[in-house]
Symmetry: none
Subunit: 414 residues, 2 copies
Amino acid sequence: MIVEILAIGTELLLGQIVNSNATQIGERLADAGLEHYQQTVVGDNDARIVAAITAACSRADAVIITGGLGPTQDDLTREAMARAAGVELVFDEEQADRLRERWKLRGRVMPDSNLQQAERPAGSTLIANPKGTAPGIRMRIGDTWVIALPGVPAEMIPMLETNVIPFLRGDDRSVVASRLIRTWGESESAVAEMLGDLYDASSNPTIAFLASGGEIKVRITAKAATQVEATELIAPVETTIRDRLGTLIFGADGDTIEVVVLKALEERGWTLGTAESATGGLVAGRITSVPGSSRAFRGSIVAYATDVKESALGVPADMIAAYGVVSEPVGVAMAEGARSVLGTDVALGLTGSAGPDPQEQPVGTIVIAVATPDGTRVRTFRMPGDRERVRTFATTASLQLIRLSLQGVEWGTG
Amino acid sequence: MIVEILAIGTELLLGQIVNSNATQIGERLADAGLEHYQQTVVGDNDARIVAAITAACSRADAVIITGGLGPTQDDLTREAMARAAGVELVFDEEQADRLRERWKLRGRVMPDSNLQQAERPAGSTLIANPKGTAPGIRMRIGDTWVIALPGVPAEMIPMLETNVIPFLRGDDRSVVASRLIRTWGESESAVAEMLGDLYDASSNPTIAFLASGGEIKVRITAKAATQVEATELIAPVETTIRDRLGTLIFGADGDTIEVVVLKALEERGWTLGTAESATGGLVAGRITSVPGSSRAFRGSIVAYATDVKESALGVPADMIAAYGVVSEPVGVAMAEGARSVLGTDVALGLTGSAGPDPQEQPVGTIVIAVATPDGTRVRTFRMPGDRERVRTFATTASLQLIRLSLQGVEWGTG
């Protein structure tokens, strides 16, 4: 089964957005063991979409189209699929009812133009879109399956995972299993060096490295006849990696650092609060992205202005005068202030200089303190990159240091 | 001059990296007024690269290839260009000398395999690469210019800007200008309907719609002999769009809503604070993403636990008991509490039920209140989608309602 990806949207050609959909789909095709040799992008132009569909059908067994299913005049995928297949568009009454129902639930009147989202090429099947109004479309053109999905990633990916990938795999019952080991604290090249011999020797399972947001992930992927066999191939490699990387590892698969932190808090029956300056609420935002976080997370004081650090967190004014607002004593006082003001067992204190202009300390200086019932620890980082990168890395580092504090592990100085 | 982009690399197909090169090139082609209708990605496979070059040459006047110029066995672009053109590879002695010189300067001995970077198709011209070892290659295949550049963005982009774009533009001195109008408050289809006649009539300038994060953007693009003429083509269309969309419009081009809010605050000499529950700090996080936000933004109280709303913001316990925590009175009390505790002129109060489990009110219920020196307004939304989407849309809506309050515009009920 050879699959191609065709992304539709003039905004992609103009460089206004990155084609992250192709990346996301490519990764999932690889995980599913489906071959994938080519990706194409064309703009919102009827003739060129038809030509691209026709060309892809001549090369592939399946074509996944993203985009062009919206309700406006420049959403042309439905029509182009019909033209490429040489069939008419038909109006799907059931889908029209679903659209009207959806708008009614939101208490709004549906503009008539949205009814084009109830059209589909004759002979096609609609694919349910639980997160949006545009359903996907699947049809046969010649010997090729052509499958159109919405361009919005939050809608597209669940449809891909629950419907399209299983459909394309069909009767292929070989199993691709993978395990994602999540680490923090060393660079990608350092992790790659620690596992260099495993990487060189790997064929089944394979191992791969992935860096994002300050974390390094190691993916182990195995293919076998059954899930049990694939898992058995992965297990010894995972054991070796765990032996070598130790406390650098904070979780596996879907265990994001915020999930790991919340789980560790709940195990102890402890609560968490944060006091943030340079990250401006991003740590609290990450933690509260997890459903059920209210069981352990109580709140945050974002003390952006210096005098709010004094009034809302009780950081002494003379301490700020003596050490500066970006300093370890202030970070510690913020953590301990948050612990007391928010009434939590554990609290973060974060102050720093995110840039672009330095604030007392050079851009990228981030002080992170964590107060627990066992005491308070603090560490100063010098983080590379621009404002956005510094804030992202500071957020990740904060969550990681909370995790290490809960586990009773040394913070290191790297 | 119609240009296509062909990116080469198996890592792109596997989803290990995003094709940001295509985005970067697309943006620069658009700025230069060069037409660009299609992008292709293929892996490190000789036959498929040759086929992709041949197909692109049949459609375009110029093909920009990225990647596959390195010194390893899977760098196949040089050979594939030669095969597509039906010529031999020749060894370029001058380039070999430059390579040896470069390695010598770094005090290292060049591995022999690197000499393949001195090969080029017969009849081609090398393009200097000031930042790396792999030169670019330009040659004619049929009626099409085929131009290969390295895949490393830091090497590719300077070569594109200083050599390739000027070469492709040739004697063309025409200019492309575009204007992005940013709106909030109506759906994409409603905005498209309000501008339907303009869209249908548009050729130069053209208009296009773009939806992201709850905002709808309208892009006007014009091509003319000079910047002044292009701007003159855009102006009357922009005026008509502004007349029709009115206060739905919050900014143009790079004016994100957080930038617009901070500008409006600074004009009045006012400060801002937030009290957040369901968004958990995301509004503060968005505002503080803007450099210099500390001039107007003082801080946030993320009151996630109910009793923190009482202790940190002074929301009366009997009000919460009477109306519930997700209610307009509590939203108002949070905004007014934040205004007082943080000592600001303007404050947001946000409470709601982001899901997946309902909290008092159905999932997606979001109460937003804004307190200013002129009084406090409040509105309840029912937002669609999952937790992540509700939180993102609630963050955007909060910033928009702060903007409307500062502008003295009615909030509406849509």
